[in-house]
Symmetry: C3
Subunit: 273 residues, 3 copies
């Protein structure tokens, strides 16, 4: 594995030296590691946001990439450190549900290792900064070729949190919700292109209608198709339904929040025609 | 081209994974690329700020550097993706005026290519994230040695926005404006050392006076020469006139904004003496 | 020195291109340099915060690392640029006290060089951006093997600021203060595990009590041991006493500020029993 890539995803922010120190630990073990920040801007303690962020984006990294993900309000308590190995990627972090979307994306194609071999930890370890003392050094050792099994035994009772999933509330109505707000104020839902296609396939002659908190919203092809400062929707670059305001901040200017109801309805059914 | 440098300049901020994903795409195509963030802190949709930021700073990077610049409110619409090739650098981004200052800095010494060869794009492309799907992969392929002409044909009708330029309002008076505010609250103008020298050369025995919104401001050599919390000016590290408050935030504490009038007057003309 | 590591610690923030430009300058001189941001989030002009940040964290980087630290309100004035050489690390920055904690950590094991050899500076230098024109190029040249002595002569009258130090106010009472607030609102004091151990050793049968602004605070082993939203304390990952609120922001929700009084008292002395 030449010049392996290690990504970092945390809620550490950018004001403090926490992420920088992780990189120092990694380079001390493997000077050849290429370290990329996916983001350190996860909201503090928000395991769900971290789960979505890594789950939607890990596929854009090269085969063999090691993803360190640390949002860890339970650090120092009993929760276990884990490695997840899929066919192409490794994931390292706390077993607190942070990898739940990765599990969803790779059904039956991963195994979870409970990290227990302390010889790979930083010697001066503290119970409050496992990102530095456990996750960074374990990732660095994987990047040097140590196999996941060398860090501990496989487990089956790993933690999986229920991420908000779309629900078919009737045969013509798919219900989801806003799961992320980005810097531009765009509100990303959990309604994927795949789910929308299934709804459409059920009635190919129907017309799709999009609703945000009960109000109908037009579906456009890209941001700049909007002709005014209203709320519109599109299928975003990750393949999910997203609400936006062109050249504005939909979330703050229109009070759109995480958890807000989003629905897709297919109308004008063939049976009714 | 060993270990080519690719810089990223965007309005993506740091809370979201957008810049991180671009890096994943680049490293998948060229594991040897060295990726440097110039900044992701351009104000959302501010093409002019991006134009100044790349225009003032690209010269500090090694020959052969590829600069990806993406502030792109029109993503997905008809505006073209382009490569600009100068003698020493490459620039990749949307043809929305973002490279206008680069054009100004390299008169007659560049060509603009309209990127059209889709084989270099990410296969799963979306209309809303060309930074990931077009600009990042194109930059990565350039860094591997693909020539600009392989991406498409040269164009002459590229977009150039009028950046605010200094105006000689009379033979002893040069008028400019504040074009950027930095983190320290310093207000950078478009009045360059070069323009100021020309004014001075026109009357070498004259005395230069600096005005901000009509109020005279002293010109100092460096920040710490200021002896109080007043507004002062200096020629900054990019060679432009800048207004500042020592150990304070000139912009927020004194209401200085982008677009504010700045003038340099040369007085005590030889003819009048 | 293959692939030497250069770290950057500044108050430049992330909105502006300052840190990016430093990296361009470094890579122009040494394309093999590996540049790591320790942080650019030091509060503007806060020399003391920079001193703590580099002093607490440099040890996590590989031997041979070159640490560039720039918080420099006096840039352009008479204050000298310096290199500090310890057995394992180099430090480059202004002689304004920023390296005071490094001096404390390496007693008798360092020397300070006054940088004066201008041939290593950027040719187009400005008095206002020595990070770009002096510190970045000097660090790059060190990373290529230029010895510290080649940059100038050793000095003894370097600047050392008095960092707030713990005081034994009586034989059973150690007084310190809050010196840093991190992103999570945790309040880090200058009371180190080492100092606390000495207090404990003076009365091994005594009981330690922690006080924040006169109010007793319980000492826990890790964040998640807290059972409510009160203020608790622990020994943090750097080995210092820290006050926190579990899943909350202790500083903003409880008005804890830098400089707040923190005390450790050992009670129930053997002599009194």
């Amino acid at each position: 594995m030449d010049s392996p890539v290690i990504t970092l995803t945390t809620d550490f922010g950018y004001e403090d030296p926490f992420a920088g120190v992780m990189k120092g630990v990694i380079l001390t073990i493997n000077p050849e590691a290429r370290i990329i920040d996916l983001t350190h801007g996860i909201r503090p303690h928000d395991i769900r946001e971290a789960a979505f962020t890594i789950g939607m984006n890990y596929k854009y990294f090269p085969d063999g990439t090691i993803h360190v993900v640390v949002v860890d309000p339970g650090v120092g308590s009993g929760r276990r450190p884990v490695i997840i190995e899929t066919g192409k990627h490794y994931f390292v972090g706390p077993d607190n549900g942070i990898f739940s979307m990765v599990y969803n994306m790779e059904p039956g194609a991963y195994r979870v290792i409970n990290i227990s071999s302390e010889q790979y930890f930083l010697s001066s370890k503290s119970p409050t900064f496992q990102a530095r003392d456990v996750f960074a050094p374990v990732a660095a050792h994987i990047s040097r070729g140590v196999g996941p099994s060398d860090f501990g035994g496989q487990i089956e009772d790993y933690t999986r949190i229920l991420l908000p999933a779309p629900v078919m509330v009737s045969e013509d109505r798919l219900k989801g919700e806003v799961i992320l707000i980005d810097r531009f104020g765009n509100a990303i839902t959990n309604l994927s292109m795949e789910e929308i296609s299934k709804l459409y396939d059920s009635n190919p002659e129907g017309v799709l209608k999009i609703f945000l908190k009960g109000r109908e919203v037009l579906l456009l092809g890209c941001y700049s198709e909007a002709r005014d400062k209203g709320i519109y929707s599109l299928i975003n670059s990750s393949g999910y339904l997203e609400f936006f305001m062109y050249m504005g901040h939909a979330s703050s200017e229109n009070g759109i929040s995480i958890g807000d109801n989003a629905e897709i309805v297919i109308t004008g059914r063939t049976g009714q025609a």
